[in-house]
C-alpha cells in the first residue's frame, strides 16, 4: 500500500516536472525541444487536453502543420469548445495547402453558427438540461393545477423548445467529439490511389493537415473519405487517427 502510494507520488512529481520543463522550453522558443518533452509526457501515459493543445502549439511553431492539427483535434476531445483550441485549430486549418473541407455535421453546425461556434459542448449540455427541467416542472404544475395561469404555459413551451434544440446540438457535438474514425494526414503530399496498391491509378492528391474519415482498411493501407465525398486508398504511414 505504502509502496504503491510512493510510486504514485513519484510518477506525479516526474510528470509535473516534465510538464514544467516542456512549458519552459516553449517559452524560450525552443519549440522542437518542447514538442519532444510533451511527447514524452504522452509516452509516459499522461494525457489530457492541455498536453495535446500545448503540443499542437509546439508543432505549429516548428512548422509541422499536420501534427499540430492532429493534436489540436485530440485536445478538442478533452476540452470541447475551448476558445484557445478553436482559435489555433482555425489558424492551422487556414494555413493548409488544401482548402478547408468540412465534414457534413460540421458544415451543418457551422450554419447554425450561434449554437456551434459560441458555446462549447458542456455549456450546450447544461443549458439544455436546465431548459428541459424548467419546462418539465412547468408542465407538472400545469397538470396538477390547470388554472395556474398563461405565463406558466409560456414558460413550459419556451423551456421545452430551447431544451430540445440544444439537445439536438449536443447530440451532434457529442458525435463529433466521440468519433474515432477520423484521421489527419501527416505527410507533406499524398497521392490517393484507386486501390490498396502502388500500382493503382492516382485518384487525387491531398496535402498535410487535412482531416479525413477512415472507411476501410487493408494490411498497410487505409481507405479514406474526404468531406466532399472523394475517397481512395492511402498508405497507413501517411496518417494518424485522431
Amino acid at each position: 500500500m505504502i509502496m504503491s502510494l510512493a510510486l504514485c507520488l513519484l510518477y506525479s512529481a516526474s510528470t509535473d516536472g516534465l510538464w514544467q520543463e516542456a512549458n519552459q522550453a516553449y517559452q524560450e522558443e525552443r519549440f522542437d525541444i518542447a514538442a519532444e518533452k510533451y511527447e514524452s509526457l504522452l509516452a509516459e501515459g499522461a494525457e489530457n487536453g492541455k498536453i495535446h493543445y500545448n503540443l499542437g502549439n509546439a508543432y505549429f511553431k516548428s512548422q509541422k502543420l499536420g501534427k499540430a492539427i492532429l493534436h489540436y483535434y485530440r485536445a478538442e476531445k478533452f476540452l470541447p469548445g475551448d476558445d484557445d483550441i478553436h482559435n489555433n485549430l482555425t489558424l492551422a486549418n487556414e494555413s493548409r495547402v488544401d482548402p478547408i473541407i468540412e465534414n457534413e455535421d460540421e458544415a451543418f453546425l457551422r450554419s447554425v453558427d450561434l449554437l456551434w461556434n459560441r458555446m462549447n459542448y458542456s455549456t450546450v449540455f447544461y443549458l439544455s438540461l436546465l431548459f428541459l427541467v424548467v419546462g418539465g416542472l412547468a408542465s407538472l404544475v400545469i397538470v396538477i393545477r390547470p388554472k395556474s395561469g398563461k405565463w406558466l404555459g409560456y414558460v413550459m413551451v419556451i423551456g421545452a423548445t430551447l431544451g430540445l434544440l440544444l439537445m439536438g446540438t449536443a447530440f451532434l457535438q457529442y458525435r463529433q467529439l466521440s468519433r474515432n474514425d477520423f484521421a489527419v494526414i501527416l505527410a507533406a503530399q499524398v497521392e490517393v490511389l484507386a486501390g490498396p496498391s502502388t500500382r493503382e491509378t492516382v485518384n487525387f492528391t491531398i496535402h498535410e493537415g487535412i482531416r479525413c474519415q477512415i472507411l476501410d482498411e487493408s494490411p498497410g493501407w487505409f481507405r479514406i473519405r474526404l468531406a466532399n465525398g472523394y475517397n481512395g486508398w492511402v498508405p497507413r504511414a501517411v496518417l494518424e487517427v485522431i
Binding site: Y53, N57, A92, F125
Partner: protein
C-alpha cells in the same frame, strides 16, 4: 544625279542628326603593357557630337610619365543608319610615348565635348624594356618557321606556345580559381580554327563552372618580345579537397601560318601547356559565423523597397541583392522567414544573376510583402557570413534596416481589412493563442463528456411524470364521482358503520355521534352534506316523497330524546334503548325510502 543624292545623304543627314542628340563619349587606353620603344594609344570616341571638332582639354593634357608622340590626334569617322536613326561616331587617337621603365598611372583627363565635360578613368600602365621587333618573321618562309629541325626549334617554340594559368598558386577550399588557357604567338603568326583542336585536362579534383565569355585577345610582353595572346578557355574551378592538387596539361593541335598572304602555307603543329600545381588550404575553424553557408570571397548585401509608405492591404516590393566576388554557387536562397510574423511574403521567382567578364558578380531576389497590420516597420535585410580570403578571416555582412510606414487600409464590409493570404505556409503565428500554463491537472487520459442521452432521459422523465400525475388526478376525480353517484345505496351501511362504535361510548360523545349518524343517513340518502340537514328539511322531503307522517314522528321523537338526554344523561340501559330505537326508526325508513 545619284551622286548628288548620295552627297546630300552624307552631308545633311548626319549633320542634322548630330546636333539633335547629346554626345556620348567613351575612352580607351591600350595597351596597358608597353615596351620603352612602343606607344600607348589614348582614344576618345565621340558618338553624336559635333563633327570634325577635336575635344578640348580645359585643364590641359596631363601626361604624367608619358609624352605626346604627335601634337594632333589622328581622327576617324563612322556613320551608321539603323532603322532610320543616323549615328555619327568620331574617334580621336593620341599617341603617348613612355619616358622610363616602371608602372605608372596615366592621370584622369577632363575632356570637353559640345560644352560638356567628361572624365577619363585613371589607368595603370606598365612600361617594360624595349621590345624586339619580330615582324621580320613575316619575311621568312612559313616552311622555315615551323621546320622541325633542331636549329629552329627554340625559335619556333618562342613564336607560338601555350600556357595554363591561375592568378595565384594557393587558394582556400571553396575559393573560385580563375583558370585560363592561353596561346601566345608573335605578331604575324596566325591560327586557323579550321583544323585546330584543344584537349582540356580532366579536372578530377575540381568542380568546374563555365565562364560565359567568348574567346578574346590581348597583348603581353615576354622576354622583351610582344606576343598576341588568345585566351581559348576560361573556367572557374572549385577544389573538392584540400592539399596539393595538380591540373594536367592541355594539349593542342594547331593549324598555323605566318603572314596573311594568299600563298601562306598552313602547317599543323602540336603544343602542350604546363601542368598546374595548386595548394588548397582548409578554412579555419575558429571565428566561423552561425550563418556561414560556405561562401568564400567578399560579399555585401543591399536592399531597397519600391515604396516607403503604403496603405494596409497594399503590397511593397523588396529587392535584395547579394553582390561581391566569390563562389556565388554557395549562396543559398533567401526566404525572409523572419518577416512572416508581420508580413505575408510572396517570392518573386528565381533570383536573377548579373555577370561581368563571364563571372557572376551579384544575385538579386525580389519579394512582394503585404503587411498584416498598420504601423511603422523596420525591415532588416538578411545577413550572410563569408570567409574573406584576402584577410584570412570570417566576416558577416553589415546589418541594414529598411523603414516602411503602413497606414490604415480601406475597410471592407464587416470591418475586415483586405489582406491577401498565401496558401500552404504558416503565416498567422502572431494570432496563435499561447500555451496553457499552470498545473497539469487530471491526466487520466480519457475525455470526460456528459452523455447527451441524459438529456433525453430528463425530458422523457418529465413526460412520464406529467402523464402519471395526470392519470392519477383523473382517476381520483372519477372515483369521487362514482362514490357520489352511489351514495344513497350506501346510506344504511354508513349509518350502521357510524352507530357501531357508539355502544362503547357514553355521555356527550355518544349522543353527538348518534345525532350525526342519524342526520348523516339523510345526507347520504339525499346526497347533501349532513351539516345542512334539519328536522324541517326532513319533514318536507318525506312529505314530498309521500312517506307516511309516522316515520317523521319517529325521527323527531328520536332527535328530541337525543337532545334531552344530552342535558340529562341516562344510564347505560337508557342509552341502549335510545340507540335501538334510533336504529329501528332508520331501518323502517330505509324500507320505505329505498
Amino acid at each position: 544625279m545619284r551622286r548628288i543624292g548620295f552627297l546630300a545623304l552624307v552631308l545633311l543627314l548626319p549633320g542634322s542628326a548630330a546636333f539633335a542628340q547629346d554626345p556620348n563619349v567613351t575612352f580607351s587606353i591600350a595597351p596597358r603593357e608597353v615596351g620603352l620603344n612602343e606607344l600607348v594609344q589614348f582614344t576618345i570616341q565621340v558618338e553624336g557630337g559635333p563633327r570634325g571638332r577635336a575635344p578640348n582639354f580645359p585643364n590641359g593634357f596631363e601626361l604624367g610619365d608619358f609624352e605626346l608622340a604627335q601634337r594632333r590626334p589622328s581622327t576617324s569617322m563612322q556613320t551608321t543608319i539603323v532603322n532610320g536613326k543616323v549615328t555619327s561616331t568620331n574617334s580621336y587617337t593620341y599617341l603617348l610615348r613612355p619616358t622610363k621603365k616602371g608602372t605608372f598611372e596615366l592621370p584622369s583627363q577632363a575632356v570637353q565635348v559640345a560644352g560638356k565635360t567628361f572624365q577619363s578613368p585613371k589607368t595603370q600602365i606598365s612600361v617594360k624594356d624595349e621590345v624586339r621587333n619580330l615582324r621580320s618573321t613575316r619575311s621568312r618562309s612559313p616552311i622555315d618557321s615551323f621546320q622541325n629541325d633542331r636549329r629552329n626549334q627554340r625559335q619556333q617554340q618562342a613564336e607560338i606556345f601555350a600556357e595554363m594559368s591561375t592568378s595565384k598558386s594557393e587558394y582556400f577550399i571553396g575559393e573560385p580559381i580563375a583558370f585560363q588557357v592561353k596561346i601566345f604567338r608573335t605578331p604575324g603568326v596566325n591560327i586557323s580554327s579550321n583544323g585546330s583542336s584543344m584537349s582540356l585536362p580532366d579536372f578530377r579534383d575540381f568542380w568546374v563552372e563555365e565562364v560565359d565569355r567568348e574567346t578574346w585577345q590581348d597583348t603581353v610582353i615576354r622576354d622583351s618580345k610582344r606576343y598576341e595572346v588568345d585566351i581559348l578557355a576560361e573556367r572557374l574551378l572549385y577544389a573538392n579537397k584540400t592539399g596539393k592538387l595538380t591540373v594536367d596539361p592541355t594539349e593542342f593541335e594547331l593549324a598555323v601560318s605566318v603572314g596573311r598572304s594568299f600563298f601562306a602555307d598552313w602547317q599543323r603543329v602540336r603544343r602542350s601547356t604546363n601542368a598546374l600545381e595548386l595548394t588548397i588550404k582548409p578554412l579555419p575553424a575558429e571565428g566561423k559565423p552561425a550563418n556561414f553557408t560556405g561562401l568564400v570571397g567578399s560579399f555585401s548585401v543591399k536592399g531597397e523597397l519600391d515604396k516607403s509608405s503604403i496603405s494596409l492591404g497594399d503590397s511593397v516590393s523588396l529587392k535584395v541583392e547579394i553582390a561581391g566576388d566569390g563562389n556565388f554557387a554557395a549562396v543559398s536562397d533567401i526566404t525572409l522567414d523572419n518577416l512572416k510574423r508581420d508580413f505575408e511574403v510572396y517570392e518573386g521567382g528565381t533570383p536573377t544573376s548579373e555577370t561581368r567578364g563571364g563571372r557572376v558578380i551579384s544575385k538579386t531576389w525580389v519579394f512582394a510583402l503585404v503587411p498584416k497590420r498598420e504601423g511603422d516597420y523596420q525591415i532588416p535585410l538578411p545577413r550572410v557570413g563569408f570567409f574573406n580570403t584576402e584577410e584570412g578571416r570570417y566576416h558577416t555582412s553589415a546589418e541594414k534596416i529598411l523603414n516602411l510606414e503602413v497606414t490604415p487600409g480601406e475597410r471592407l464590409a464587416g470591418g475586415q481589412v483586405s489582406v491577401g493570404r498565401e496558401s500552404g505556409t504558416i503565416l498567422a503565428e502572431q494570432n496563435l493563442n499561447y500555451i496553457k500554463l499552470g498545473d497539469l491537472g487530471d491526466i487520466s487520459g480519457k475525455p470526460k463528456l456528459q452523455r447527451p442521452m441524459l438529456l433525453v432521459q430528463t425530458a422523457a422523465g418529465f413526460l412520464v411524470l406529467d402523464l402519471l400525475v395526470f392519470v392519477g388526478l383523473l382517476m381520483r376525480s372519477r372515483g369521487q364521482d362514482h362514490k357520489n353517484r352511489f351514495r344513497s345505496k350506501y346510506a344504511w351501511k354508513n349509518f350502521q358503520k357510524a352507530v357501531g362504535p357508539l355502544k362503547s361510548k357514553e355521555g356527550e360523545p355518544f349522543y353527538a355521534g348518534l345525532a350525526d349518524a342519524l342526520l348523516g343517513y339523510f345526507g347520504d340518502k339525499w346526497d347533501r352534506p349532513a351539516q345542512g340537514i334539519s328536522l324541517e328539511m326532513i319533514r318536507n322531503r318525506l312529505e314530498k316523497d309521500g312517506i307516511e307522517p309516522t316515520h317523521f314522528d319517529d325521527v323527531n321523537a328520536c332527535m328530541e330524546s337525543i337532545e334531552l338526554a344530552r342535558f340529562t344523561p341516562g344510564s347505560a340501559g337508557a342509552r341502549e334503548q335510545l340507540l335501538n330505537k334510533t336504529v329501528a326508526t332508520v331501518k323502517s325508513l330505509e324500507g320505505v325510502l329505498s
